[in-house]
Symmetry: C2
C-alpha cells in the first residue's frame, strides 16, 4: 500500500488548476468520448489552445485518446481520475450561475439526459440495473472492464415486456448496428444501456411521454407518467 507521504501531488494538481483544462475534464465526466474540437468549444478557447491543453492532460495520464478519421476522441483515463475531480468539487465553491435556469438545468442533467441517442444520467443507470435484476436483459460478453466490447441480449421475458410498450425488438435486431452494450458514466459510477436497443427504447419512451426534452441539447425531464411507467414496467424506482 502507498501512503500520501510517498507521492508528489503538485504535478497532477497543476493539471487541474487551469479553468480551461478543468472544464474539459468535467465535460468528460459522464463517460462520453469528446473530440478535441468539441472540448475546445465547451471550454471556449481556440483549437490551438485546446490542443496544447489536451497534450498536457495526455502526458499527465489524466485522459486517453483514440483516433477516428480526422477526429481525436478523448476520455477520462479511469475512475480514479473521476474520483479526484469529484473530491475537489466537494470543496469548491459553486460556479457563478448567470441564471437560476442554469443551475436548474445542471440539476436536471443529473437526473436524466441523453448520451448520443440513448438514456443516461441517474435514470439511465437505474433503468439498466432494473432490467438486469429483473432478468429482462442478460450479459453475453462479461468483459465488464471494456465497455466497448460489452454485449447484452434480451430475454424472452424482456422481449415481451419491451413489445408491450411498443418497442419492436425484431426490428432493432435487424438494425445494422451493435445491438446492446453499456456506457460507463464516471459521475454515476454505473453503466447504462446503449446500442440499437438503448436508442430504440429511449426513442419509444420519449415518444410515449415518459420523458420530455429540455431546452439544452441533452437534457431530459422525467414526467409523472414516466415515473409511474418506469416503476410498473421495469420495477425501476427513481430516487
Amino acid at each position: 500500500m502507498r501512503a500520501p507521504y510517498d507521492s508528489d501531488i503538485a504535478p497532477v494538481a497543476a493539471l487541474l488548476a487551469d479553468r480551461t483544462r478543468a472544464s474539459m475534464l468535467t465535460a468528460l465526466l459522464d463517460g462520453r468520448p469528446l473530440s478535441a474540437g468539441e472540448l475546445a468549444r465547451t471550454a471556449g478557447v481556440s483549437a490551438a489552445t485546446a490542443s496544447s491543453h489536451l497534450a498536457k492532460l495526455l502526458d499527465g495520464d489524466l485522459v486517453t485518446v483514440v483516433r477516428q478519421g480526422r477526429h481525436r476522441y478523448y476520455r477520462l483515463k479511469g475512475a480514479e481520475v473521476a474520483a479526484v475531480i469529484e473530491a475537489i468539487s466537494r470543496i469548491s465553491p459553486d460556479v457563478e450561475v448567470r441564471s437560476l435556469r442554469q443551475s436548474r438545468q445542471a440539476r436536471a442533467l443529473q437526473e436524466a439526459r441523453t448520451c448520443y441517442d440513448h438514456l443516461a444520467g441517474r435514470a439511465g443507470s437505474a433503468l439498466f440495473e432494473a432490467m438486469l435484476s429483473r432478468d429482462l436483459l442478460e450479459a453475453v460478453d462479461t468483459s465488464y472492464d471494456d465497455p466497448a466490447n460489452s454485449a447484452y441480449e434480451v430475454t424472452d421475458k424482456g422481449e415481451r415486456q419491451l413489445e408491450s410498450i411498443g418497442v419492436d425488438v425484431g426490428a432493432v435486431r435487424r438494425a445494422r448496428r451493435r445491438f446492446a452494450g453499456h456506457c460507463l458514466d464516471w459521475t454515476e459510477r454505473r453503466p447504462h444501456l446503449n446500442g440499437a436497443l438503448g436508442a430504440a427504447l429511449t426513442a419509444r419512451m420519449i415518444e410515449d411521454g415518459w420523458f420530455e426534452r429540455g431546452s439544452t441539447r441533452r437534457a431530459l425531464f422525467v414526467t409523472e407518467k414516466g415515473r409511474g411507467r418506469l416503476a410498473d414496467v421495469f420495477g425501476c424506482v427513481l430516487g
Copy 2:
C-alpha cells in the same frame, strides 16, 4: 445534491498545484497541528514564503489556524480536504526516493508512529478502537466532532488490564494534564488515544519492547513481541 457540473475546481486545484503548499498539506495529514515555522522547515522555504502560502491556504479554506502565543498552529480544515489530497495521491507518481531507506521509512510511518508523545498511525488507531470495543475505555464527553474536547475514562476492567502490563493508572490520573482524549488522523480517518494516558501507555509499551524507535524522529516499529502482546492484552490485531 450537487454535481461536479456546478463547481469550478480550478481555484482549489491551484492551491494544491505548488510543491511547497502540497508538502505543507501532506505534512498536516496526520492531524497534528503544525506551526508556520515547522511548516516552513518541512517544505524547505523561508518564513516569508511559508507565510504567503499559508495565507493562501487559509483564504482558500483548506486549513484553519489558531493563535497560541507567538505561534500560529495550522490544521487541515476537514476530512473532505484530506480526501482530496488522498485522491490525488492515488494517481500521482511516487516521489523521487533518494534511497530505499526513505521509502521503507515512509511505509513504516504508516504502520506506527508517535504523535507528540503517544502512539499514532495504524497501530494507534487499532489499539484505540480495540480498547473501546473491549470496554477498557469509555467516552465521557461525546462531542466527537471536536477532538480538543474529547474525554475518556478507564473502566475497572481497563484499569486491571493496564496495571497488569505496568501502567500506573493512579499516577497518570494525578498528572497535571488532560487524562485522556483523542486525536483525529486524516490519513487513517480514525482517532487514536492521547493525553496523559496515551503518553504513559505508549512509554510503557516502548519500555517493554512492544515497539522500537526508528531512525527518524517519529518512526516506530512494531516488534514481534508487540504484535503478540497487543493481540493478547487488548485484542488488537494488526493487519
